[in-house]
Structures are given as structure tokens and as C-alpha cells.
């Protein structure tokens, strides 16, 4: 099975189970989780199912194309199921069948691994899925994103595509993975043919060439613009709340709703992603001391958290209509539930 067949089969599998097939996000991200299709969609009450491939850039992981197992940019296939179906684990195992893995011939384990992304103030609980000793998927029940408690939660399945392909093709180097095979001539294009130059040149850039001063400047600029947008939105929603208090909410209120609705939070999020990526470059460049690190992470996190909050607020208007059909939990049940609270570790 070629690399592209692997992707196609997984996409088909999840499309057949009701997922929207998205395309990779076109801003640099470190993981599929950071694409807005995950980061923003998991917030709020709207159910959503989506699958997409996300090339994920991690500048510090680059090895100039010399290490057979490590990449600056790897591909994840990201699946978000919100809310998670009861049989989500079984569905996942079925998807392995779809890519030709007969579980009766292999050893599969779910080993505890709790995912956490401090830059996004996001975390979840789950496993790494181990197939014959190889970690092939990160399986996470999201609990919090952008500092916001999720309800409903979602399941996030992140397939490590290169690892799975190398496993299926039984090759020791990622660069030997067959990416495509011409059905007429049988000639193959390998992962190395497609991506090696990428790995080499970006390693050079990230480790050697990136101008530290300018990269910091870019970071500051993107941050400033993102912050400004978040602040504008905060002002807007404050105005909205103030108007809400006034009894006569006629035209001006409706204007505010429209203004909020068209507010470019998605653009603000792109700016936040830029910051995150620039941070990674600076990190790879060795330009951030350990002491500074914590501070810079906190700056990116502040943006992510600000956007997540604003987004939840913005979506309230969007979902106001559909939400009416969602029955709220009966009050007595809520009370019962609270009694069962388990001590949190």
C-alpha cells in the first residue's frame, strides 16, 4: 500500500462514517490539533465530525534528512468525533482493518498517554495505541481547549502516517516509503523523492539561517496584531452586554450582533498560529533560553485562550437557533450527578 493509498483509505473510511473531509490547513502548525478545524470546532456545543491530513512542522525535530526516523515536517491524519460515539475504540480498530492490518495477526495495546499542549492551554486523557511495539496513533478524549472546559467533549484520533506507512511497507527509513506507484509502468515515487529537499533545506533554515532578530520582530508584530483583534472583540462583547442591560434593545443591539458575527476571529487565530510557529523556529535556533521559554509559551497561550473565549462567545449567536432543539439537562439529574463527583487527582 502506497503512502497516498494509505491516506485515501483512511479518508474514505472516515468519510463513510460521516466525517467531513477537510483539506490541510494552509498556515504552519505543529500538530493537527492546532488547525482551526480542531482547535475552534471542539469549542461550544455543536456536534462535528471531521477528518483531514495535516502536515505538521516541528522545526526542532529536523535532522537535515539524515535520520531515518525523524522529520521536521510529518503528516498526521487527524479525526475529530464530537461527541465521541460509544463504540469509538471499535471504530478506530476497524479503521486499521481498512488499511490492511489484520488484528488477528498482530498485537495491539492501548497504553496510557495523556496529551497536553501548554501553548494552547489544552489537554486530554487517552492512550498511545501500540501496534507490535510501534506507536501508531494518539487517541485523546479532549477535556479542555484554549482554557475552556469542553461540552460535549470529543475524541481525537491522530494517526502518524509515516510510521504506519513504514510499518505497512516494512521499510527502515521513512525516506524509502513508496509514496506513489504508477499503475501503468509500475515505477515508484518515494517519500525521499517528494520530501527530502524539504527536510534538508528547512533544517538549514531553522537551525542556521533564520535571522533571530527578524524572527523575534515577526513574532512581536503578529502577536501585537492578534492581541489588538482580541481586545477589539472583548470591547465589542462588553458593549453588547451593556446594551443587553438596557431595556430597549432595538436596532443598535442587532447591529452589534452582526458586528460580532463578522468579526475576524479566524484571522486572529491565524496570527496566533504564526506566533506559535515562529516560537518553534526561535526555539530550534537556540534563541530562547530555558528561562525565557516559559514566558514566551505564556504569551502564545494568552492569545490562544483569548481567541478561544471570544470564539465561544461569537458562536453563541450562531448556535442560538439550533441550540433550542437541544434539550437541556433536567435539573434533578444534574443534582444527582454532582453527588457522584469523584475526587480529582
Amino acid at each position: 500500500m502506497t503512502f497516498q493509498e494509505l491516506i485515501l483509505r483512511l479518508q474514505t473510511f472516515w468519510a463513510e462514517r460521516g466525517c467531513v473531509l477537510q483539506q490541510p490547513y494552509d498556515v504552519e502548525v505543529g500538530a493537527g490539533t492546532m488547525a482551526p478545524e480542531t482547535f475552534l470546532r471542539v469549542l461550544g456545543p455543536q456536534p462535528y465530525k471531521v477528518a483531514y491530513v495535516q502536515p505538521s512542522r516541528r522545526p526542532a525535530d529536523g535532522r537535515y534528512g539524515e535520520n531515518p526516523n525523524r522529520l521536521f515536517k510529518h503528516m498526521q491524519l487527524q479525526v475529530i468525533l464530537k461527541p465521541p460515539p460509544e463504540n469509538v475504540q471499535e471504530l478506530y480498530l476497524e479503521s486499521l482493518g481498512a488499511i490492511g492490518i489484520d488484528l488477528h495477526q498482530h498485537d495491539i495495546k492501548f497504553e496510557e498517554d495523556n496529551w497536553e499542549a501548554p501553548t494552547l492551554s489544552a489537554w486530554g486523557v487517552g492512550w498511545q495505541v501500540i501496534l507490535d511495539g510501534l506507536e501508531i496513533t494518539q487517541f485523546t478524549y479532549f477535556q479542555q481547549c484554549g482554557g475552556v472546559d469542553l461540552f460535549p467533549i470529543c475524541a481525537e484520533l491522530t494517526y502518524g502516517l509515516e510510521r504506519i506507512a513504514a510499518f505497512l511497507q516494512d521499510v527502515d527509513s521513512i525516506y524509502d516509503i513508496v509514496w506513489a506507484r504508477d499503475p501503468d509502468t509500475g515505477s515508484v515515487v518515494k517519500y525521499g523523492n517528494v520530501r527530502l529537499a524539504d527536510e534538508l533545506q528547512f533544517s538549514v533554515y531553522n537551525f542556521e539561517a533564520a535571522d533571530v532578530e527578524k524572527t523575534w520582530k515577526h513574532f512581536d508584530l503578529y502577536e501585537a496584531e492578534c492581541k489588538a483583534l482580541i481586545e477589539q472583540y472583548v470591547m465589542l462583547s462588553k458593549k453588547d452586554r451593556d446594551e443587553d442591560k438596557n431595556e430597549d434593545k432595538d436596532e443598535p443591539a442587532r447591529d452589534l450582533v452582526a458586528e460580532k458575527r463578522r468579526f475576524p476571529l479566524l484571522a486572529a487565530y491565524d496570527l496566533c498560529l504564526k506566533c506559535s510557529h515562529l516560537f518553534n523556529i526561535l526555539d530550534a535556533r537556540g534563541a530562547i533560553s530555558v528561562t525565557e521559554r516559559v514566558g514566551v509559551i505564556a504569551r502564545v497561550r494568552a492569545l490562544a485562550v483569548g481567541i478561544a473565549r471570544a470564539w465561544v462567545d461569537q458562536q453563541k449567536n450562531e448556535s442560538a437557533e439550533t441550540a433550542k432543539s437541544d434539550e437541556p439537562e433536567p435539573a434533578h439529574e444534574k443534582k444527582l450527578g454532582r453527588e457522584k463527583l469523584t475526587p480529582v487527582g
Binding site: 535520520n67 486523557v125 492512550w127 511495539g133 469523584t342
Partner: protein
């Protein structure tokens, strides 16, 4: 008497949490059965990664009825002219009995009417349906989650529930799941749904048929599989590793094992690195040959029955090869920059945000270690300060290596390994270089209470210096461990210091050492954030006293009162405390010391009461002309025997000192029998108080005997 079965089916529970949760659930069910008067036979647990179960045999079908007596109005009110009044009728109605069945009872307040009411016991099914969900909900998890409602938390989503009394399902519900009689078998090896015919052994049999084994059986099966896989290599043995075994037992429902191999070329890498990759990252068991050397093989435990086509073995070998290649790559990359060159890099590695870099730490540790070595030399303990100085300088440089960044658990070890292969200083003799390497290698030891202390004296001093510096800095910042919170593992590090000092028999005073470690921060940026010196010494000595108590009690097995008594006298010198503890333990059974303990308490009380009344003892007792006979005897005893005890004490002959001290019982008892201390005559009173104070001091230099718990009372 039916059997009870409760099975909670869950998505894979983290291996590290299963044993504790399973034991807790069992205890909860035992307590519930007792509380609800349903207890019968044995209660056992059954657990796998996907389930926690409890089986209770022969529980009661229902609670026994309870007869209660309800008290009604007084007889005067209840009867008029021998006839029941409306009040009596009302009471009888409320109690559900006929008015003729009312009794008369006598209470302290007078005669009242009463009714016997039988409270019907509930059926076991009712009680379980009511209570078991609560027990499940309150199991403690180190980390939990919600998936349905934020108010319902469990370790992972609950997917099924079985609750049965014999063959009857108990109608209970937990986290939105209704209990039934359908369990699930092994994910791959069985059909998913398993009907449980009835509680008891039938449950275990049904699961076994569905390729699910209980914990003990899994462990046994794994051991067998490891043995038989290893047998294919003549003379080889798998390395026993209990924590790893516990992990794989709890990662499988139906385990087996395969033997894999790797390229013997990798054996050129240090064994520590290979074993860490195998054990910590891949959960493989290592295999050694007849000489105890690592063999180019490994054992992987599978959660499936077999590997007929060797696909699993092939896959695992492939992963291990990649991991070993990485390790080799890191090892080779790291050699491009020697540890000496890496020392400068430590300026950019933060030790703690307020306490500066590892470069700063290294300098402090060097100073502290030379001070420690100085003390050892004064006590004629052979130590090489030059080796320690160099080792301290390089001890943290491995934090900048790729290998440690990848395998953080190998910090120290990697530094030691690199120091062994690198040319540190051409002028150094080979033996010195190896001594430096060993000290670096060992300087995180002991990493747990079971771990060994550093092999050499140099390693021991470096380890103590490193830990003392960390503890001093954190305490000075007020970052003191409390309850379960100890993010910098300061308790473990202090335990390490105590253990090294005790086992290497080092003449180091804890408070003095920590004061010096604290002084290492003088003039640094951090000082502005420090708590007061007084607060520092107070918290540090309380902390180390606790650690020493822990060491003496939990690791050396001294009883609570011996430890209290010994540390009550002095808790600063670890080696001395150990010697005193041993002597105290030996004399403790002597009846004299029970008496001495009582006398100590008595003296303390008298002195305290005197102090409260502002009555001062004289500076030193003297022979007053009108002193009582017993008083004079005690004085004479103290003067004669006291100096002999003191001589033994100075020579640390604590057992001899204590045996001699035991002879004080007679004069002391006589004194208390015949002499009154708090007499009106101020001079005599003050003199007697002085005598008692001297006596108490004599009793308390080796141990504070007032802490001794009288036998039978403990």
C-alpha cells in the same frame, strides 16, 4: 445464600492504576456488605485493563428484619381510668400496631408507653442497586475524565456493567449504563459479547473461555512464556524486573511472549542505554548470558495468544532497531563536544527560575563539597577532594547531551559513561579519571529508598552536596514540601542524604551542613526572595528530623518510641542517632527503663509546674545540712555514677552508659518515695529542683526516656 458479581467494564484503564483501584473497590464492597448486614463468604476481586470486578460468595438474600422500640406518650397521658386515650390510639396508629399491643416501659423520666415495630430488611438486590453505584463513583483515580456529563467522572469511559446475584441481574445503573449479564471478552481473540450465566466461578470460567484471565493467572502465564521463550537460547536468563512485570500484567488480558533479537553490533553501546530503551520505552525484558552480560535478544509481552507468522516479532525488532539507531546516533553526536566543553553551556540551562543556572549550581556544589571533604579529612576518612571537585564541575554537563534529552532517566549515568570514554585532562592518571567518572555516574543515587548509595566516598560526597544545595535553595525560597505536594522531590533527596550519611557513617551534622549549603547562595540574585534565616533553619530542621524519623523507623525498623526518644535527645548526627537507637532498643525491655521513663515524665511535670509558678532551681544542687537521707543518696549517686556514665557516653559506649544508668532506679525511686520537692522552704525547694534538673539532663543525653511507651500500653 447467593453469590454477588459486580463487573465494571471500561475502556483501557492505565496499567499503573489498576491494582490500587481494584483493591479499593474490593474493600468498598466488603465494607458495604458489613454495613448493610449482608456479609457472607469470601470477597475476591478480578481485574484486567478493561474491567474491575468483585465477587462475593454467600451474601445474605436480604437484611434481617430489625425490631425497634418506639416510645410514645407517658402512661398518664396514654391511659385514663385504665382505658387508652386518643393519644394512645394515635401513637398505636402511627407505629402500625393495635392499641392492645402497646407496652409500658420504665424510663428515668417515668413510665411511658412503647410499641415494638419490626423494620423489614431490604433485599440484597435493593441494597446493591442503591449502593454499588455510589461505591463505584467514589473510587480514587490519580487522573480522571468526563465524557458524558461533566459531573460524572471516571478514569476512562465506562462501557458496560454486569451486576448479578446468582443468575439474577441486579437492576442498577452507573454513569448512564444499565447493568445486565453481558460482559465482554478479549478484544481480538473472542466474540465481543460474553453472556455470564451466573455469579461465582461461572463468571471466571466464562471469561476464560473468552480469553480473559485474572491478574494472578496472567502473571503466571507471562512468567511461563518468558521462561520458555528464553529457553531457546542456551544458558540465557531473562532479567527479573518486578515493576515491568506488573506493568505488562496490567496491559494484557490474555498474555503471551515472543523472543526477538537485535544486531549484536548494538552491544557496543552501553548496557544502561540499551536496557533503558528496552525497558522504559518498549517494555521489553532484557536477556543476559551465562556471565550476566546483556545478550542481543529481548522479550516482548503480547496481549494476544501467539505470533504464528512472526509478524509481531518482526515488527518489534524493527521498532527496536530504529530506537537503537537513534541512541547510537545521539551517542556519536554527543562525542563531538566533550563534557569539558559542555561546562560553559550550563550557563544557559536553568536549574530553577529563581536559583539561577546549572552553571551557578555547579559552582555552589563544588564549594559545598570541598567543605564536606574537609570535615571528613578532619575525621581521618580517606577522600580525594580533587576528584570530587572535578566530578562536581562535570556532573551536570550531560544535561546538554542529546542522549539525556532523549532518555532523561539516564542523567548522571550518561555523564559518567562519557567521562569514562573521554579524555578529560591528559595530566590525570587513568585511575583518577575513572574515579571522577564513577562519582558522576552515581551522583543521583540513591534514587529511591531501595536504591544503593554511591559506591565511592567521592560519589557519596558529590551526591550529598548536590542534594543539599537543591534542598537549601528550595527551602530558602519557601518551596517546602507539604502533604502530597513535593514537585521537586525534596523528600526523596533528603532521604538520600540521610541514607548516604548513615551507610557511609559520615560525621556530618545535618543542620550545620544545611546552613553551609544555604550560605552558598549568599550574594546571589535569589537571596532577595529568600525567607528569613530563622524561618529557614526552623523549617529545615523539622524537615530533616522527619526524614531521619522515617529512615530509623521504616528502613531500620526501630519502634516508634525508640525513634522518638533518640531523636528527642538529638536529631542532628545521623550516625550517632543510629548508635543510640541500637543501644536504647537493647535496654528497652529492662524494667528499670520503664521506671526511668516514668520518672522522667514526673520530673518534667514538676519542673514545668515550678516554672509556671516562677520558682527557679538553684544553679547547681549542693549538700544542704538539713537534706533528707534519700536526697543525699541521690546526690551521691549522681556525682559518682554520673561521671562514669559520662565517660561511656563520650566514648559512644551507649549500651554501657545505659546499663549503668539503669542502676539509678533505686535511688530515684527512693527519693520520690520519701522526699517532697515542692516544700515551703524556698532554699530546699530550689535545691531539690536543681537536683531534678541535673538528673533529667543525665537521663536525656542519650534518649528522651519520657517518650518510652510502657509495655502493654503501646
Amino acid at each position: 445464600m447467593p453469590d454477588l458479581l459486580l463487573e465494571l467494564g471500561c475502556e483501557e484503564i492505565p496499567a499503573r492504576m489498576i491494582d490500587a483501584a481494584s483493591a479499593e473497590l474490593r474493600e468498598r464492597v466488603v465494607a458495604l456488605l458489613n454495613r448493610e448486614r449482608l456479609a457472607g463468604g469470601e470477597v475476591t476481586s478480578f481485574d484486567t485493563p478493561r474491567r474491575l470486578s468483585v465477587l462475593a460468595s454467600n451474601v445474605a438474600t436480604a437484611q434481617a428484619d430489625v425490631v425497634e422500640q418506639l416510645t410514645g406518650p407517658s402512661v398518664n397521658v396514654a391511659y385514663k381510668d385504665g382505658q387508652p386515650t386518643p393519644a394512645a390510639h394515635a401513637f398505636a396508629k402511627k407505629a402500625g400496631v393495635d392499641v392492645s399491643q402497646l407496652d409500658k416501659i420504665t424510663t428515668p423520666k417515668g413510665e411511658y408507653i412503647a410499641a415494638k415495630v419490626t423494620k423489614k430488611g431490604r433485599t440484597a438486590a435493593e441494597v446493591f442497586a442503591d449502593h454499588l453505584p455510589k461505591e463505584l463513583a467514589t473510587i480514587y483515580w490519580p487522573k480522571n475524565m468526563y465524557w458524558r456529563k461533566p459531573s460524572e467522572r471516571f478514569v476512562r469511559p465506562v462501557r458496560w456493567l454486569v451486576a448479578m446475584l446468582d443468575d439474577q441481574t441486579i437492576p442498577l445503573e452507573f454513569d448512564g449504563i444499565r447493568a445486565g449479564n453481558n460482559s465482554r471478552g478479549h478484544r481480538i481473540l473472542s466474540d465481543d459479547s460474553v453472556a455470564i450465566p451466573r455469579a461465582g466461578s461461572a463468571y471466571v470460567d466464562a471469561l476464560r473461555a473468552a480469553k480473559v484471565l485474572g491478574r494472578a493467572e496472567r502473571e503466571q502465564q507471562i512468567r511461563k512464556a518468558l521462561d520458555s521463550a528464553t529457553r531457546t537460547i542456551p544458558g540465557a536468563r531473562w532479567r527479573e524486573d518486578k515493576p515491568l512485570l506488573d506493568t505488562v500484567v496490567n496491559l494484557t488480558e490474555f498474555p503471551s511472549a515472543i523472543l526477538g533479537s537485535f544486531d549484536p553490533q548494538f552491544l557496543a553501546l552501553p548496557e544502561e542505554v540499551l536496557v533503558t530503551v528496552m525497558r522504559d520505552h518498549q517494555k521489553y525484558f532484557a536477556i543476559e548470558d551465562t556471565h550476566g552480560k546483556l545478550a542481543p535478544h529481548f522479550l516482548a509481552v503480547l496481549n494476544t495468544e501467539s505470533d504464528p507468522q512472526s509478524l509481531i516479532r518482526h515488527g518489534n525488532e524493527r521498532v527496536l532497531r530504529a530506537r537503537f539507531n537513534d541512541a547510537r546516533f545521539f551517542w556519536e553526536t554527543d562525542q563531538k563536544k566533550s563534557l569539558l566543553e559542555r561546562h560553559e553551556l550550563l550557563r544557559h540551562v536553568t536549574f530553577q527560575k529563581d536559583l539561577g543556572s546549572y552553571y551557578d549550581k555547579t559552582q555552589r556544589v563544588q564549594r559545598l563539597c570541598s567543605w564536606l571533604s574537609e570535615i571528613l579529612k578532619q575525621h581521618e576518612i580517606p577522600v580525594r577532594p580533587g576528584v570530587i571537585h572535578k566530578a562536581a564541575c562535570l556532573s551536570k554537563t550531560d544535561l546538554t547531551t542529546e542522549l539525556v534529552k532523549e532518555f532523561t532517566e539516564l542523567q548522571g549515568v550518561v555523564g559518567g559513561l562519557y567521562a569514562r570514554v573521554q579524555q578529560l585532562d591528559p595530566s590525570l592518571p587513568e585511575a583518577t579519571r575513572l574515579a571522577i567518572a564513577d562519582a558522576i555516574y552515581d551522583h543521583y543515587k540513591p534514587e529511591s529508598t531501595d536504591d544503593d548509595v554511591p559506591r565511592s566516598m567521592e560519589g557519596a560526597v558529590l551526591s550529598i552536596g548536590d542534594k543539599a544545595d537543591t534542598i537549601a535553595g528550595m527551602f530558602a525560597l519557601g518551596l517546602v514540601p507539604s502533604g502530597s505536594k513535593d514537585p521537586f522531590a525534596l523528600r526523596r533527596q533528603a532521604n538520600g542524604i540521610v541514607k548516604i550519611v548513615a551507610e557511609k557513617k559520615l560525621p556530618l551534622r545535618l543542620t550545620e551542613m544545611m546552613r553551609d549549603a544555604h550560605a552558598g547562595y549568599r550574594g546571589s540574585e535569589a537571596e532577595r526572595k529568600f525567607v528569613s534565616d530563622e524561618q529557614f533553619s526552623q523549617s529545615i530542621s523539622a524537615f530533616f528530623r522527619e526524614r531521619l524519623e522515617f529512615y530509623l523507623r521504616d528502613l531500620r525498623g526501630y519502634s516508634y518510641d525508640v525513634v522518638k526518644a533518640v531523636l528527642g535527645a538529638n536529631a542532628d548526627d545521623v550516625v550517632d542517632a543510629l548508635e543510640r537507637a541500637e543501644a536504647v532498643k537493647q535496654v528497652l525491655h529492662m524494667p528499670e527503663f520503664q521506671a526511668i521513663g516514668a520518672a522522667c515524665k514526673r520530673i518534667r511535670n514538676i519542673l514545668r509546674q515550678a516554672a509556671e509558678k516562677r520558682i527557679e532551681p538553684t544553679a547547681k544542687f549542693e549538700y544542704l545540712p538539713d537534706a533528707a537521707h534519700e536526697e543525699k543518696m541521690l546526690m551521691a549517686y549522681l556525682e559518682q555514677t554520673g561521671s562514669r556514665i559520662e565517660a561511656h557516653r563520650r566514648k559512644k559506649e551507649y549500651f554501657d552508659a545505659l546499663t549503668l544508668l539503669a542502676t539509678s532506679r533505686e535511688p530515684v525511686d527512693a527519693f520520690f518515695d520519701k522526699v517532697m520537692v515542692m516544700v515551703d522552704d524556698a532554699k530546699i525547694r530550689a535545691n531539690r529542683l536543681a537536683l531534678l534538673r541535673t538528673l533529667l539532663h543525665e537521663f536525656s543525653t542519650i534518649a528522651d526516656f519520657s517518650e518510652i511507651v510502657a509495655e502493654g500500653k503501646s
